[in-house]
C-alpha cells in the first residue's frame, strides 16, 4: 500500500513537473531565437502576462481553449513586433527597453482584468490527450503521454527549433547575425529582417506561453506569471543558447517546482516555511545558471544594435 502511494506520488510529481515546465519552455525557446540573432528581449514576462490575460478572457467569452491560444499568438506577434521596432529599428538599449515592455504588460493585463472581468472566474482548461499506445505503458505512459496537446507541442518545438537553427539557411542567418552582423550584412543577409523575424518568433512563443499558463490553470490574476518570463530568459543562458539545453533548464525548474508543491501538500514543508520554499525553483535555477552557463560563450553581438557602416 505504502509502495503504491509512493509510486503514485512520484508519477504525479514528474507529470506535473513536465506540465509546469511548458510555459517556461515555450518562452525560452522563443527567447533563444532572439538571442541567437543578437537581441535580448527582457519584455518576455510582460508579453506572457498579456498573452495570459488575452487567452483567459477569450476562453471566458467563447469557451474555446483553441481560440484562447490563438489570441495568445496574436498578442505575442503584435508585442514581438513592437519589441523588434524598439530594439532593432530604434536601436534602444536592450537592457532597459525590455523592462518597459514588461511593465506595460504587467500593468495593462491587470487593468484589463479589473475592467473587463473584475472577480476571478475559472474557465475550462485544455482537454487531456492520451497518445494512443504510448499512454498505456505503465508508469512512463502516465508520466509522459497523458498530457494536454500544448505539452506535446511545446516539447515538439525543441527538435523543430534545433533543426531550424542548425540545418536551415534561415538558422544559419540567425547564427551569423548574432555573432557578426557586419559580416552577414556584407554578404547580403538582412540583419534587420532576420532580427525582426526572430524577435517576433520570440514574442509569439511568449504569447503562447502566457496563454498556455492561464488556460492550463483555468484562471487569471494579477501578475499570474510570477516572473516566469525572467526565469525563461535566464534559462536561455543556462541552456547555452541551445534548444536542448533550454529544455533541460525548463524541466529542472518544473521538477523542482512540482517537488516543492508536492512537499507542501504532504506537509513535509511546514506552512510557515512555504513562502521561502516557493523561492526554491528560482534560487536553484540561478545557482545552476552561475555554475553551468559560464562555460559557454554568448552570441558575440548579443544586445548590440546594428548600424551599417558604423
Amino acid at each position: 500500500m505504502n509502495e503504491f502511494f509512493t509510486q503514485a506520488i512520484l508519477i504525479a510529481t514528474v507529470a506535473s513537473g513536465i506540465r509546469l515546465a511548458v510555459p517556461l519552455l515555450l518562452a525560452s525557446l522563443g527567447e533563444t531565437f532572439g538571442q541567437r540573432s543578437g537581441v535580448l528581449n527582457l519584455g518576455v514576462d510582460g508579453i506572457m502576462l498579456l498573452g495570459a490575460f488575452g487567452g483567459y478572457y477569450t476562453v471566458l467569452k467563447t469557451d474555446s481553449v483553441w481560440l484562447g491560444l490563438l489570441t495568445g499568438i496574436g498578442i505575442g506577434i503584435i508585442l514581438g513586433l513592437v519589441s523588434a521596432v524598439i530594439s532593432v529599428t530604434l536601436k534602444a538599449e536592450q537592457g532597459i527597453s525590455g523592462i518597459g515592455i514588461y511593465l506595460f504588460g504587467l500593468g495593462m493585463s491587470d487593468l484589463l482584468f479589473q475592467k473587463l472581468v473584475g472577480t476571478p472566474r475559472p474557465v475550462s482548461s485544455f482537454p487531456k490527450l492520451d497518445i494512443p499506445g504510448l499512454s498505456d505503458i505503465p508508469i512512463l505512459g502516465e508520466m509522459l503521454f497523458q498530457h494536454s496537446m500544448i505539452v506535446y507541442v511545446a516539447f515538439g518545438l525543441v527538435p523543430v527549433s534545433m533543426y531550424i537553427i542548425n540545418r536551415t539557411t534561415f538558422g544559419m542567418n540567425i547564427r551569423a547575425v548574432g555573432e557578426n552582423p557586419e559580416a552577414a550584412d556584407s554578404l547580403g543577409v538582412s540583419v534587420v529582417r532576420t532580427r525582426y523575424l526572430t524577435v517576433t518568433i520570440g514574442g509569439t512563443l511568449a504569447g503562447i506561453a502566457g496563454a498556455a499558463l492561464a488556460i492550463d490553470l483555468g484562471i487569471f490574476q494579477q501578475n499570474l506569471t510570477n516572473a516566469q518570463g525572467f526565469i525563461a530568459i535566464a534559462l536561455v543562458y543556462f541552456g547555452a543558447w541551445r534548444p536542448a539545453g533550454v529544455m533541460g533548464g525548463a524541466l529542472l525548474y518544473g521538477f523542482v517546482n512540482s517537488l516543492v508543491l508536492q512537499f507542501k501538500t504532504l506537509g513535509i514543508i511546514p506552512r510557515s516555511w512555504s513562502d521561502i520554499a516557493a523561492m526554491a525553483p528560482a534560487i536553484i535555477t540561478i545557482l545552476a545558471l552561475v555554475l553551468v552557463a559560464r562555460r559557454f560563450r554568448q552570441p558575440a553581438a548579443l544586445t548590440k544594435p546594428f548600424t551599417r557602416g558604423a
Binding site: 539557411t169 544559419m172 547564427r175 551569423a176 557578426n180 559580416a183 552577414a184
Partner: protein, 506 residues
C-alpha cells in the same frame, strides 16, 4: 580585352558632417590589372570603396560597370554585379564553419535547407585553382589569420567576383604569406579579373600594382603607372611634402642591460601559456625591435613587463632591479614607460581631456598637488609644456582625447610616457594606424629617446618600421625569441621565415 574599363567611377563626391571625404574622384579599373588606391588614414580610400560596395551612397558622381551606368545601394547589389570585397577586418563569423561562411547569404540548392556538402565541393575546386588550400568543415575561430584571409578570398570567388576590392589585405600576414597571396592575386588577374588594392605599405604597392592612384584629404593627388614610381615619390603624394621614410640614426654608445627578461612565462586570455620561457635583454641606448606575427605572445610579454599580467615563471629586471609581478605603479617608479598597442583601449581614456590623459600617471605626484588636492595651475602648465614639446595638435587642453586624430593621440601618449625620462620604454605598435607625417615624428622621437640612453623595446607588426628603427631585431614565435639578427645584415626574407617559425641556422 575591350577598351571599356570594367569599372569607372566618375566625379565621386561624398560629404559627411564637417568632412569632405571624397571630392570629384575619378577612378577606373581595367580587366586584368591591379590598380592601387593609396593614401593616409582619412584620405578617403575606404569611403570610395564603401561607395563602390554599396555601404555608402555618393552625393555626386556616377559609377559605370563595363560602360553601363549602375546604382549600387547595398552590398547585395554589389555582389550581384560581381564586385567582391576583402575587408581589412575580416568579415567572418567565427562560430560558423568555412563552408557556412561561404554559403551565407546565398540561396541553397535545397531551398529551405542548407546544402553545405555541395558548397564544400565547389570550395575545394576553387581552392585548388588558386592555391588556397582550406578545409571547408573547419570552424573559423580555429583558423590562423592567413587561412582566414583565404576564406575571405574564396567567399568572393565563390560569388564570381570579377572586380575585387582588397582593403589592406597584407596587414596581418607574414612576408611569406604575402608572397603566397600575391601569387593568388596574379592568378586572378591572369583570369581577367580586375583588382583594387588598398595599402599603405609602399614596397608592396610597388611590387603588385599596375597603376597607382593617390588620395589626400579626399582629393586625387596623383595617378601614376608603377613604372617610374618610387617609395619616396608616392609618400610625397600621400603627405604633400617630402617625407623621411627612414629616420637618421646617429650612432649611440650602447650601455649596460636595462631590461633583462629571463625564462619568462605568461598565460594569455584563453588560459593557454602564450609566453614560453622567453629570454631577452635590451641595453641602454638601443632600440630592440620585436618582429613577429601578431598573437605570438608579444602582447602578453609587454603586459607582463608592465605588471598588467601575471608572470607565472621567470623574471624581469629593470635597471638591475627585480620587478617581476610588482604593481604597475611600482614598476613605473623603477623607470618603465609603456606605450600600449590599443591607443584608446588602454593607452588613453577617450572621454578624458588631453590634460587629464597626460596626468594619468602623475596625478598623485606632489608636484601637481596642493594640500592633497589637484593643483590645476601646475597641471595646466605641465600639460601645456608637453603638448607644445611633442607637437600634439589639439584645439586646447580640455578637448577630449577621442576628438584627436590617431597620430595626435599617439603623440600625447608618447609625451606622457617619456616625460619622466624612462630607463626602459616598451612601445607596442607605436605607429599602427597613424599617418605618415605623425609616424615620421614618432620615429624621430624614439630615436631621440635612444640618444638619451633609454632602452627601447619596440614591438611592431610593420617590418619596414622594425628594419628602419631597430639596432637589433628579435623575432618572436610562439612565445619564444627564436633568433636575434642585425638589421643591416639580415634580409626581410630571413626575418619572414623566422616569423613563420623557421629557426635560423646556428
Amino acid at each position: 580585352m575591350s577598351d571599356v574599363p570594367m569599372l569607372e567611377m566618375r566625379g565621386i563626391t561624398k560629404r559627411f558632417p564637417g568632412v569632405l571625404a571624397n571630392y570629384r574622384v575619378d577612378f577606373d579599373v581595367r580587366s586584368g590589372e591591379v590598380h592601387t588606391l593609396l593614401g593616409e588614414n582619412g584620405a578617403g580610400k575606404s569611403t570610395l570603396m564603401k561607395i563602390l560596395y554599396g555601404l555608402y551612397q555618393a552625393d555626386e558622381g556616377e559609377i559605370l560597370l563595363n560602360g553601363e551606368p549602375v546604382e549600387i545601394h547595398s552590398p547585395m547589389d554589389a555582389i550581384e554585379r560581381n564586385i567582391g570585397m576583402i575587408h581589412q577586418h575580416f568579415m567572418l563569423v567565427e562560430t560558423l564553419t568555412v563552408a557556412e561562411n561561404v554559403a551565407l547569404g546565398l540561396p541553397s540548392d535545397r531551398g529551405f535547407r542548407t546544402d553545405l556538402d555541395a558548397v564544400s565541393e565547389r570550395i575545394e575546386a576553387l581552392a585548388e585553382r588558386y592555391g588556397l588550400s582550406i578545409d571547408p568543415s573547419a570552424i573559423v575561430w580555429q583558423l590562423a589569420v592567413g587561412q582566414r584571409q583565404r576564406v575571405e578570398i574564396i567567399k568572393a570567388l565563390y560569388r564570381e567576383a570579377n572586380l575585387l576590392i582588397l582593403d589592406e589585405p597584407t596587414a596581418v600576414l607574414t612576408p611569406q604569406e604575402v608572397d603566397q597571396l600575391f601569387v593568388t592575386l596574379r592568378q586572378m588577374t591572369a583570369d581577367g579579373r580586375g583588382l583594387i588594392f588598398i595599402s599603405h605599405k609602399l614596397h608592396e604597392v610597388l611590387a603588385l600594382s599596375d597603376r597607382i592612384t593617390v588620395l589626400r584629404q579626399g582629393h586625387i593627388t596623383g595617378k601614376v603607372p608603377v613604372e617610374g614610381a618610387t617609395r619616396e615619390s608616392l609618400a610625397e603624394m600621400m603627405v604633400g611634402r617630402q617625407v623621411k621614410l627612414v629616420p637618421d640614426k646617429p650612432p649611440v654608445e650602447v650601455g649596460s642591460a636595462a631590461l633583462e627578461i629571463s625564462g619568462l612565462r605568461v598565460v594569455g586570455d584563453r588560459g593557454h601559456e602564450t609566453v614560453r620561457g622567453l629570454n631577452l635583454e635590451v641595453r641602454a641606448g638601443e632600440i630592440l625591435g620585436i618582429a613577429g606575427v601578431s598573437g605570438n605572445g608579444q602582447r602578453e610579454m609587454a603586459q607582463a613587463i608592465a605588471g598588467l599580467r601575471e608572470v607565472t615563471g621567470g623574471s624581469i629586471r629593470i635597471g638591475g632591479v627585480e620587478t617581476t609581478n610588482l604593481k604597475p605603479a611600482e614598476i613605473r617608479k623603477h623607470g618603465l614607460a609603456y606605450v600600449t598597442e590599443g591607443r584608446l583601449r588602454d593607452g588613453a581614456i577617450a572621454d578624458f581631456s588631453v590634460s587629464e590623459n597626460i596626468m594619468l600617471i602623475d596625478h598623485a605626484d606632489p608636484r601637481y598637488l596642493n594640500r592633497g588636492l589637484m593643483d590645476f595651475r601646475a597641471i595646466r602648465e605641465h600639460s601645456q609644456m608637453l603638448v607644445d614639446q611633442y607637437a600634439v595638435k589639439t584645439p586646447n587642453l580640455e578637448t577630449p582625447a577621442k576628438n584627436l586624430s590617431g597620430g595626435n593621440i599617439q603623440k600625447m601618449i608618447l609625451a606622457r610616457e617619456m616625460s619622466g625620462t624612462p630607463t626602459v620604454l616598451v612601445a607596442s605598435q607605436p605607429t599602427r594606424g597613424v599617418d605618415i607625417g605623425a609616424a615620421e615624428y614618432i620615429h624621430s622621437r624614439l630615436v631621440q629617446q635612444r640618444a638619451e640612453d633609454t632602452a627601447i623595446l619596440m614591438i611592431s607588426e610593420d617590418l619596414d618600421e622594425v628594419f628602419a628603427l631597430s639596432d637589433r631585431i628579435a623575432v618572436i614565435y610562439e612565445g619564444e625569441i627564436i633568433g636575434i639578427v642585425d638589421p643591416a645584415a639580415a634580409t626581410r626574407e630571413q626575418v619572414g621565415l623566422m616569423m613563420a617559425g623557421v629557426r635560423p641556422e646556428a
